[in-house]
């Protein structure tokens, strides 16, 4: 028996058919998978979860920057107020102190401790 006849014999002896309902089962699963993959389709070739992760990172950085800016603004405001108030207080006090010192110096008796040989100084 030559090869061709052997092939024919095998063809007629074995002709399996797909089970009933296989088409529906296979295609239904394939369609389900297709729907799943469409919902998770990559954006510019990058998986969606990576985009979400990157977006979350950007949001965290932006929030941090905003909070930092707000804090710095508030500190600057406080510093401006403090320096203005400090300056006002400082000049007023200095003037008053100077006047007070001059007044006290004018009223004070002359200092003659060094002329009389004070024992409080360095005796080197």
């Amino acid at each position: 028996m030559d090869d061709k006849r052997m092939e024919e014999s095998l063809r007629s002896a074995w002709s399996p058919q797909p089970p009933d309902g296989m088409r529906e089962r296979v295609l239904r699963r394939a369609h389900e998978q297709s729907a799943r993959s469409r919902s998770a389709r990559p954006i510019f070739g990058v998986a969606r979860w990576k985009f979400a992760f990157a977006g979350l990172g950007i949001a965290v950085v932006l929030l941090g920057n905003t909070a930092d800016y707000a804090r710095q603004s508030r500190m600057a405001q406080m510093m401006d107020g403090a320096s203005a108030a400090g300056a006002a207080i400082g000049t007023g006090t200095l003037l008053e102190q100077r006047r007070e010192i001059e007044r006290l110096l004018a009223q004070a008796p002359p200092d003659n401790r060094f002329e009389n040989g004070s024992k409080g100084g360095n005796s080197l």
Binding site: M6, S9, R11, A13, W14, M22, A30, S37
Partner: protein
């Protein structure tokens, strides 16, 4: 038209499908109708059970549906489908090897219990089927692809990942074994 006929358009790199050759696109349904029977037969020759063969074919179509982007780079749809079916079938064989061994052992036991009845049942076709089922898996798949799907040795070699000479040898050994079995049956 059922809901399944609504169609998913699958694009392929090479326009090898007959039904929509102009656009290089085919719906999953067209693809199924064109190839599923052959893929099922091929898978059945590899795994031996219709349920497992259906699982293998299903896995192939599910993969195509899930990776539509990747399917655009497929140059030869037929070769891809057969190779994917082969992979799925081997994967099933690996995962179900223990179960298959158990089933084979049970079958052998039941036939050994009734040798006269078993030999009386053997007609020419059933001899062929049984000997074919007993062939090594490498020879079975070559015979199926050559005889039923009329692939050339070169196409088979690409599908199974072996050299053309190896494929030719497997075909030769398989055919010889079948011929031998038929002659023994005839003489007996």
């Amino acid at each position: 038209m059922t809901e399944l006929d609504a169609g998913i358009a699958i694009s392929f790199g090479a326009r090898t499908l007959r039904d929509k050759a102009e656009t290089g696109q085919a719906s999953l349904e067209h693809l199924y109708d064109q190839y599923a029977h052959a893929l099922f037969r091929y898978a059945l020759a590899l795994v031996g059970s219709p349920e497992d063969a259906e699982d293998a074919v299903q896995e192939v179509f599910v993969r195509i549906a899930g990776e539509q982007k990747r399917s655009e780079s497929i140059a030869n749809v037929k070769a891809y489908l057969f190779a994917a079916t082969r992979n799925a079938a081997y994967s099933i064989l690996r995962s179900r090897r223990r179960r298959a061994r158990l089933e084979q052992a049970m079958c052998a036991e039941s036939e050994a219990g009734h040798p006269e009845e078993a030999s009386a049942r053997l007609s020419r076709s059933s001899v062929l089927r049984e000997v074919f089922a007993e062939l090594p898996i490498e020879q079975r798949e070559v015979l199926v692809l050559k005889i039923f799907d009329e692939m050339t040795f070169k196409e088979i070699a690409e599908t199974v990942g072996a050299s053309i000479n190896t494929v030719g040898s497997r075909y030769r050994y398989g055919i010889e074994r079948l011929r031998q079995a038929l002659e023994e049956e005839h003489d007996g």
